[in-house]
Symmetry: C2
Subunit: 496 residues, 2 copies
């Protein structure tokens, strides 16, 4: 392990977790690597150990996006977190955020590194990074994600590095480019998905390194379910529609694809496997999942760009075994580049993102259950949806075995307005809202996307709203949430 620290003077900084974590005290702004993958393992454990030992302290925790139960979950449960930004997906942390026991602010991921460099998040007291190596000149080679790490390292007062056992051959997969800050700066020079514009490592001032840990911990793989019928149906509808648009000459061929995080999104990319219209794919996305490896294996990927690789245990082994081959196709970038509006719009990405609920006018809720309770966060969905050449919002038509309709009269929280939505898809149907008025959209979403169990009552609401309120987007403010309210009262949105 020690030979991975090629900058020999830094080897003197190798120490134990207790000593390293000593730099983190009550009130520390702690910035960590991690963007679904690639988070530090030892320092969080040690902080929890201190809390378990009775020490009372709070930190402000900033990562690239979500981490894992072993970080977000454990630190939250130990009562150690005052503030957390910008995205999480942990059950315990979620509960505490919803109780305002942890302060949380959810933001478009593309915008954050710049805010940190501008000092808007306060001083970067300590940055903890997971890396596979430190170069001769003290540059860092990260593990399976980049996220905001380059900026967190650049802005840090003190840096702690956890050297991971992930293969050192990851070196070369990353493309690190920190743009300048406004008002005087040049374009982000990515013109094709495959373009590399930066360096294969993160620049680091070795003088700021206060501790290096040799970490025996390996990351637990993500858990994906095999695509179920609903996901496969949604995927098939999307691919059919895009093929149709290309054949009709309404969409250029060769646009890159983005697909959000999770099972449905993973299923959509898997849908390309048996498809013989789409042959040579560019993927310009945020989180790359198992399906990307499968597509590489069958020779369908020209380039896959993202800010992290989040793989199941099995895919992870395969990836590490044949890294020499995957590395030619995969590029890991900072989140401000993977999610850059400039690049997404320039390339004309086809974006596919999931929703908690969509309303009849195609307003989208990605974050809040029943309007109040945050689920995870907006993540990069806004970066992609707003700037895509074509934007799909996908959701199974119901949740919780049918007692919740994902198509509602009015969403209980809006993250993406109708103006950023192109096509709405459920397993029942697809509506291209782009050439429709809001009223036409409502009729079609009710008739095509809603679950048949809910169509009648949605139609009844819509028709009454047209009659009684009128307007461009007829709504009855007194009843707009009647489905939600029925669920809150009875545990079932259906007429009982």
């Amino acid at each position: 392990m020690e030979e991975r620290i090629r900058c020999k003077p830094l080897r003197a900084k190798i120490t134990d977790p207790t000593t390293a974590a000593g730099f983190i005290q009550n009130g520390t702004n702690l910035f960590i690597s991690g963007f679904t993958a690639g988070y530090p393992k030892l320092i969080p454990q040690e902080l929890v150990r201190r809390a378990d030992g009775g020490e009372r302290f709070k930190i402000n925790l900033f990562a690239g996006a979500s981490t894992a139960a072993s970080v977000d979950g454990s630190l939250a449960a130990a009562g150690l977190i005052q503030w957390r930004r910008p995205y999480m997906s942990d059950r315990t942390m979620r509960r505490m955020i919803n109780a305002e026991q942890i302060l949380y602010k959810d933001d478009h991921l593309s915008a954050l590194s710049q805010q940190v460099r501008a000092g808007n998040w306060g001083p970067v007291d300590v940055t903890v990074v997971e890396a596979v190596a430190i170069s001769e000149k003290g540059q860092l080679v990260p593990t399976m994600s980049v996220g905001n790490t380059p900026t967190y390292v650049k802005a840090a007062d003190k840096i702690i590095v956890e050297i991971s056992t992930d293969p050192a051959e990851l070196e070369g997969i990353h493309d690190i480019f920190i743009p300048e800050d406004p008002p005087y700066r040049m374009p982000i020079p990515i013109y094709r998905t495959a373009d590399r514009i930066g360096k294969p490592f993160i620049e680091m001032n070795p003088d700021k390194v206060v501790a290096i840990l040799l970490s025996p911990e390996t990351e637990r793989g993500a858990v994906f379910r095999d695509p179920d019928k609903i996901s496969r149906d949604i995927a098939a509808r999307i691919l059919d529609f895009v093929e149709h648009e290309i054949r009709k000459n309404r969409l250029p061929a060769g646009l890159p694809w983005q697909s959000g995080v999770g099972d449905v999104a993973n299923a959509v990319l898997s849908g390309f496997i048996g498809n013989d219209f789409f042959l040579n794919l560019d993927i310009y996305s945020e989180v790359l999942q198992d399906s990307v490896l499968e597509l590489i294996d069958i020779g369908k990927v020209r380039a896959a760009s993202g800010s992290s690789l989040t793989l199941s245990q099995k895919a992870r082994s395969r990836f590490f075994d044949e890294l020499y081959r995957y590395r030619e196709k995969v590029i890991l970038r900072p989140a401000e580049i993977s999610n850059a509006p400039e690049v997404i719009r320039r390339l004309g990405v086809i974006a596919i993102n999931t929703a908690i609920e969509v309303d009849i006018y195609a307003q989208v809720n990605s974050t809040h259950v029943m309007g109040s309770q945050i689920m995870n966060g907006i993540g990069g969905s806004g970066d992609f949806m707003r700037n895509a050449a074509l934007s799909f919002v996908v959701t199974p038509s119901t949740a919780k075995g049918g007692v919740i309709s994902a198509i509602v009269p009015m969403v209980s929280h809006v993250d993406h307005s109708e103006h950023s939505v192109g096509v709405v898809v459920t397993e029942h149907g697809l509506v291209d809202t782009r050439p429709l008025t809001p009223r036409q959209t409502a009729e079609q979403i009710i008739n095509k996307c809603a679950h048949p169990d809910y169509r009648e009552q949605l139609r009844e609401y819509y028709q009454r709203a047209v009659r009684m309120a009128g307007g461009h987007e007829p709504h009855l403010l007194k009843e707009a949430f009647y489905l939600h309210q029925r669920y809150l009262d009875n545990g079932d949105m259906r007429v009982g």
Copy 2:
């Protein structure tokens, strides 16, 4: 006038409005110049004349943004419009859109030209453009706006030109650049507000010109009110805040400014006049109004870039009289460039946009009154708010003499989610939401931004929501619109 058609063969196309309008028939997709200013005058009149004469026909009308009562209003009143895109602000048209008598789809303005080029809006049957001149090679010099005109001309089957009496010296003020379309294209090469990247005219295929009209009509100036105390208070708060952030080193100096359309926005820029901290302004905006000329007059403007100049009658005369001087500072660009997310983000624009209402969690309604009735449209507000380095949402705290609170528990329609909002400002106060959780935002917006008449009941709702619903953004779905409902029932949101 005829000498303005420097491409002599085209002079043979000079004709009368009746003949020219003959190319427009039932079902024609009619694309016109116009982006608050610079719309054609004669053809709309002639179409109305035909309708008045008993001819029954419908057209689909596409402009850059809003036009004027003489276009949108008259054509709507004559029952001539089937479809209208993408933005309007006319009273008659609004009424008919809200009754679905005119089909309307409101979109982010930055995204539209590309959709038209992709064929998503159907064939461009006829394009009517107002111009001050046609060059020797048949290129068009537009009048006071650019909007989507370059693309409408490029994609047109047939072109009709109205030669305006606006001064020919407008030649040189425009900067026309049509970006390529995805997936293979290069950056938009604007690195500074003042950069010119295109040509001073719109490329046109002279073979497509079917008619040229010599128009005696001059445009009626816009009507601005002198800034009232509320607007001046809002303006002062914004300038104070930005100065403070720059002094604290949390915001770089020299960021360009954008200010939305209307009186409050105009007042904000006027606020710079007596201010001695901001000396050398870049304005990277959409619609330039009177205040920009005043700032040029006192030597405070380095460059002012927009897609149109919408001036009062008085400012218009001044502008035309000293065009030689203003032309050095003002650049008129296509809307897809003035509003380009890529450029707005690169330059780090400070954006100021108005709202119909803002809720306690800083969700913003820019378009729909009481959730159903559209006012104008989203226009470019989303392009700027989402991509700004710092985004202000401004509104007087009440409307209609106090019976409507612009700060509500939940907005009745969402155009911009909290994630795209930086700072909320009313005449009563300013809240920087960026470092706050939603609950902290709610407390501050209620205490600082809401009108004192409404604070108590907003506080009562919020506290009850915290207690009864909890969550990251506590809401009582049953009551979230109780202020709106009270207004709908009683004509007053106040407890009565």
